[in-house]
């Protein structure tokens, strides 16, 4: 320690220097000390904020990317099909029981059963069932449809098609046809038909042309092409056709009947549970998209689990980083802690000073990390493009994701600071001052 002459009088310190210039009045004691300690060890603070920022940036970038990717998959899968389908029960063979033939009563004859033909048939009491489902709060749309196979003939060319007869005002809320129409419109009058681009090319037809559709039963109908669509799948564009429900009913021999009820629900991930409730309530077999696209759903689930795991490990490494910096800081600041305790600062106040430092490191890192993650997403969106220059898939910047990152990183900071803060609070002031 040097003597009195060590420091010269500063060049000019006006007497009117505001005494509290450095201490904002709204800041409590703990904030003031925590911020000052962080500022004093600025190199350490900068490094750990950088470490937290990278962790948060990875989480933000990866979460936005995966949720964008998933939303894109879901959109592609679920805008082309219903979430739940109600189908008529399959026909089964009932074994003949003979009790008069001299054999034992209840003995079954004919051990080999042949699977019966599945005829096209209507859902029993479908209006009642549809009304019952529509009343469920989870359900958005219930659309009846008559579906089956038919043949379209034009000149020497003929093609097998699948006919979907439905009520456009309901069905097009499930399958957003407006987005898929490439020529004409999704309007469906009583004599209109929508066909795919491949079928139109195969038959050499366009808007306004007439097609003769013949069912296996021989029933036929002539319809006008009012729109040509592209479902994004060559097979579907070759075979799918859409027409008004009445046309399909008469063509397929289902007067007044429907072969399927298509249902959409509010929460796509709850589709299976809703399907089970529908089956329980109506007695009709309901298949959710989760069951009919089991592999796809498994892939989505696996993606979500791996995302959660990665987040967990990144958060863990962030927590350990903050904790290790604070442990070192407690050792470095032990004399200061001792002096603070000697001047009447309580253990609780010391604890809060270090907890705050943890929280502030987490928050600071999260702010920088969110900005970095956001920038990385923008860059990614610019660089990764389809051949035609459009983005691979739209990325949504959800404020909720950034808010969650801020809150979680701050909480992680607070939690990871707990052990070092406790150590600081429990320091014996005598030992701390002695160093």
């Amino acid at each position: 320690m040097s003597g009195e002459a060590g420091a010269a009088v500063p060049a000019s310190v006006p007497a009117s220097v505001p005494a509290l210039a450095q201490l904002p009045r709204w800041q409590p004691f703990e904030w003031i000390v925590a911020l000052r300690f962080l500022r004093e060890g600025r190199m350490q603070t900068a490094f750990i904020i950088g470490g937290v920022a990278i962790g948060v940036a990875v989480i933000v970038f990866m979460s936005a990317l995966l949720s964008g990717l998933q939303a894109n998959f879901m959109r592609r899968v679920l805008t082309g099909q219903a979430h739940i389908q109600l189908l008529p029960p399959k026909e089964t063979v009932r074994p003949l029981r003979a009790d008069t033939s001299g054999l034992k009563p209840g003995l079954v004859e004919g051990a080999v059963l042949q699977a019966p033909l599945q005829r096209l048939k209507s859902l029993d009491q479908w209006q009642g069932v549809a009304a019952q489902i529509r009343a469920m709060p989870e359900v958005l749309v219930v659309s009846p449809a008559a579906t089956g196979s038919a043949l379209v003939v034009r000149g020497d060319a003929s093609r097998a098609i699948s006919v979907v007869g439905m009520q456009p005002e309901l069905y097009f809320r499930i399958v957003t046809m407006d987005d898929k129409i490439v020529r004409g419109s999704a309007r469906l009058g009583s004599s209109d038909i929508l066909i795919g681009t491949e079928l139109a090319a195969d038959l050499g037809v366009d808007l306004g042309d007439k097609l003769r559709i013949t069912a296996a039963s021989g029933a036929a109908s002539t319809l006008t092409i009012s729109g040509i669509f592209d479902l994004g799948n060559k097979g579907a564009n070759e075979r799918s056709t859409f027409m008004a429900l009445r046309n399909a009913q008469s063509l397929l021999g289902l007067p007044g009947g429907v072969s399927v009820l298509d249902v959409t629900v509010r929460d796509v991930y709850a589709a299976e549970a809703v399907a089970q409730r529908i089956t329980a309530a109506t007695g009709v077999q309901a298949d959710s998209w989760i069951r009919t696209n089991a592999q796809f759903f498994t892939a989505v689930n696996a993606q979500q689990s791996s995302n959660t795991l990665i987040r967990l490990f990144v958060a863990l490494s962030v927590a350990l980083g903050i904790a290790s910096v604070l442990v070192v800081s407690v050792v470095q600041k032990s004399r200061e802690i001792g002096i603070l305790r000697a001047m009447g600062i309580s253990r609780g106040q010391v604890l809060r000073v270090f907890l705050l430092q943890g929280g502030l490191l987490g928050l600071g890192g999260a702010l920088v990390g969110s900005a970095l993650g956001g920038m990385a997403l923008l860059v990614w969106q610019r660089v990764q493009r389809n051949a035609d220059g459009t983005p691979l898939f739209p990325l949504t910047f959800e404020p909720g994701l950034f808010a969650a990152a801020l809150v979680l990183a701050t909480l992680t900071g607070l939690v990871s600071a707990f052990a070092p803060a406790l150590r600081a609070a429990r320091l014996d002031p005598v030992v701390a001052i002695r160093g």
């Binding site: 320690m1 003597g3 005494a19 000052r36 200061e336």
Partner: protein, 250 residues
């Protein structure tokens, strides 16, 4: 309070020192052992009796390792005696909980240590302000004024916005003294505050302590190795091997 800058003449011991002043600190049979219950248990204080009244300036002398600092830590409520009674400002402290001791320490006792007295992250003024801030929770104008006044009284107004680490040793000790006085304590504990200073600075710091003691009636327990400074105190106790072996004055 201006810095004298020169070794002041030994102050005459006031003959009219009132002995009926209230007792600020009283130790009765205070013992302190370390490593209690372990094979290496060591008793460093062996039954200390000591009374310090309001306005008394008492020097504590003794060789290194004699237990002076332990005694000071116990009187300062930083450490607890293993046995015996300790009364500070009329409050018997041996049964008090940690938070009550902290509160009593903050309001009644000021410390000046030999080394590393200040918080390096803060300016001189902020260091003085810190006990007031810790007690009140939020900064306010009144505490800033008091801190500025205290800094002025130790002659350091021009340095008030200087980071504590940039002050000289003597200046740091004077800031520490101003800080120790922030809560207007009844008792000042100074553990070799001049031990690391040159003679001129040591005298200046001692004079300041003496002046605070005389003007404000603050009792002072002053650990020193310097017999000249001890001579200038109201009374002197000598601690050797954890026992008070001699008392003079008072």
């Amino acid at each position: 309070m201006a810095e004298s800058g020169q070794a002041a003449k030994p102050a005459a011991k006031p003959a009219d020192q009132p002995t009926d002043q209230p007792v600020v600190v009283e130790l009765k049979g205070v013992r302190k052992s370390f490593n209690l219950g372990l094979p290496n248990e060591t008793e460093v204080l062996h039954g200390i009796d000591l009374t310090l009244r309001r306005g008394e300036f008492c020097a504590v002398m003794g060789p290194s390792g004699s237990g002076k600092s332990t005694l000071l830590n116990i009187v300062g409520l930083l450490d607890r005696p293993t046995q015996g009674l300790l009364t500070v400002c009329g409050e018997e402290t041996t049964a008090l909980a940690d938070h009550a001791l902290t509160r009593l320490r903050g309001h009644s006792i000021g410390f000046v240590f030999q080394f590393h007295n200040l918080l390096g992250a803060f300016t001189a003024l902020e260091n003085v302000l810190m006990p007031l801030l810790g007690d009140a929770g939020f900064p306010n104008a009144a505490m800033a004024e008091r801190a500025a006044g205290l800094l002025d009284s130790v002659g350091l107004s021009p340095w008030r916005n200087q980071p504590a680490g940039l002050l000289s040793g003597g200046q740091q000790q004077r800031v520490a003294l101003a800080r120790a006085l922030a809560m207007n304590p009844a008792l000042l504990l100074a553990d070799e505050p001049t031990g690391n200073l040159d003679t001129q600075s040591a005298d200046a710091v001692f004079d300041l302590l003496r002046r605070v003691n005389r003007e404000q009636g603050t009792s002072v327990l002053f650990v020193t190795h310097n017999p000249e400074l001890a001579e200038r105190c109201d009374k002197t106790i000598e601690v050797i091997d954890g026992r008070v072996v001699a008392q003079a004055g008072g």
